[in-house]
Amino acid sequence: MILLALDTALNACSVALVEDGRVLASQSEPMVRGHQERLALMVQEVMAKADLPFCALDRIAVTVGPGSFTGLRVGMAFAKGLALALDRPCIGIGSLQALGASVSPEGLVAAVIDGRRGQLYVQAFIDGHPVMAPDALSAEVAAARLGELWQGGPVTLVGPGASALAGIFAQAVVIELAAADPAAIAQQASIAPIVPPKPLYLRAPDAKLPGGITPPDLDL
């Protein structure tokens, strides 16, 4: 199975072309903005490097968040466009899941993204299996949750917000990855059920109803 994985959710623009776990070509460039301009050319370059036509793709994978609202929409819109034009399935992978899969799965792995406004986006895995859903938490609550989940053994904190929780486990390995390894995204997507990508913002739009009322049930 040949997969193309895209990630524009965080401070990098990344593309990987993977066949049955083997990376055929990949590219990742750090950037805070400019994903929209760069992504199409990077995909073109990666396909050219592997000398593959687009019709050779079996699946498209894309990170769905949490992350930069604009970044993840660029990636998802692009992935949906590819999937439509090629008539192939498109699979959404959580950004925290992708970060967690970018490091050795042994023990407790916590993926952490700084969500700003005093929030961390956190998801934890034990031996590669998720043990909590992605959530937006204060540093204190996140530390308490991870403390409850830890059953002894190695601890890895990974992601652009990892250092915010570095103090809670003396023995933790802290890996401040700016963004996920796109090959890990492809790997996750190769075993995922085919579910269309749905954005995971973990934060409601900043919109108030007339009179300054916070609207109920805005989709996260």
Partner: protein, 370 residues
């Protein structure tokens, strides 16, 4: 015209258009040939219900809705056209001006389709889409005088052809559609206010409340609606009966139509100076062109000034992707395609030289809006 463009001009091209610059997710397939254009499909997924509680378009809510809807809307447009991607000659997407979070969604999806199928990409200016909208399935030749009037824009343009627009005038404050919407909001009408205000105005007496009409008789072709907005808001709070509300709605509509018409006639005097009867063509486009009173007043002005009148059908006045597909198809025929790293532009005047040299507002850090 370049030699390559001339070679293309007898060809027939089929283009997918994508529009996501405000609160409609839209896709359309248009075929353009020597005989003119045919709209093979035009799908519009409106977000009005999502924004209505807020009384206006919320950019982040719009962007979220676009990314959820974009693939369904494009698929529906291709299905309705009965075509596969192999039948397309190019992909056109709105690249601005507009709410950039939404623009990026449509532009990214368009780039992906163009890249995956090896098709040329046309990054279309949304205003150019409105400019060509009267040419959808109709024989409206260039050049023409264009009144582009919507919720975001109010401009008079001399349109010589694709990519060749000269701005004659623009609003110095609000757009006409913005005035409609905001006055409607102060009168307690539901969003979008323009159509609601038009319905309320039916049978009303437009002379009961005299309202200010700005810039009458001025030598330029600019517009201003903020004084009207304030005056109408002051009256609106004093009204008690349904009759009074109907008369105010009629007065507002009449005042907007009057200013649009007076300023347009001024532009006709300038534009028509050296033009024979055949080249005196007038086009009105944009959401406000859907208003019956405005249309009727402009039609009368055309008769008075010796101009032919054209307006797109109502479904192509408001935002749609057919106009983007047509602008893209016209660009493709001229060889005007764009690279895959083209940026989304929140601000993108049609007449960049005029917007830069004679800005109505002091341009912000990001440049002139339109």
């Amino acid at each position: 015209m370049s030699p390559s463009a001339a070679a293309h001009s007898t060809a027939t091209v089929t283009v997918l258009g994508i529009e996501t610059s405000c609160d409609e997710t839209a896709a359309s397939v248009v075929r353009l040939g020597p005989e003119g254009s045919v709209v093979l499909s035009s799908i519009i997924d409106s977000q009005i219900a999502k924004h209505a509680p807020f009384g206006g378009v919320v950019p982040e809510i719009a962007a979220r809705a676009h990314v959820e809807a974009i693939d369904h809307v494009i698929r529906a447009a291709m299905d309705e056209a009965g075509l596969g991607y192999e039948d397309l000659d190019g992909v056109a997407a709105t690249a601005g001006p507009g709410l950039v979070g939404g623009v990026m969604v449509g532009l990214s999806a368009g780039k992906a389709i163009a890249l995956a199928r090896g098709l040329p990409l046309m990054a279309v200016n949304h205003l150019e889409g409105h400019a060509v909208s009267a040419r959808l399935e109709a024989d409206v030749a260039y050049p023409f005088l264009l009144l582009l009037t919507s919720g975001g824009h109010c401009q008079l343009l001399d349109v010589a052809g694709i990519g060749r627009c000269q701005r004659l005038g623009t609003t110095i404050d609000d757009a006409a559609g913005e005035a409609f919407d905001k006055i409607a909001k102060t009168m307690g009408l539901p969003y979008p206010g323009g159509p609601a205000l038009e319905r309320l105005a039916e049978g009303g007496d437009p002379t009961r409340y005299p309202l200010p009409i700005a810039l009458l008789g001025r030598q330029d072709c600019d517009f201003s609606f903020s004084g009207l907005k304030t005056a109408a808001a002051r009256i609106a709070v004093t009204l008690t009966t349904e009759d009074e509300r109907r008369d105010l709605a009629a007065a507002v509509q009449g005042a907007i139509a009057r200013q649009l018409t007076e300023r347009t006639e001024r532009a006709m005097a300038l534009h028509g100076q050296d033009r024979g009867p055949k080249d005196r063509r007038f086009v009105v486009a944009g959401g406000v062109a859907a208003n019956g009173t405005v249309r009727a007043a402009l039609l009368a002005a055309c008769e008075k000034q010796g101009y032919s009148f054209a307006a797109p059908p109502l479904r192509y006045c408001t935002d749609n992707a057919a106009m983007i597909a047509l602008a893209g198809a016209e660009r493709l025929v001229l060889g005007l395609t764009d690279p895959l790293d083209v940026a989304a532009r929140p601000r993108w005047p049609l007449d960049e030289a005029m917007a830069a040299s004679n800005p109505i507002h002091k341009p912000s850090r990001k440049g002139a809006k339109a």
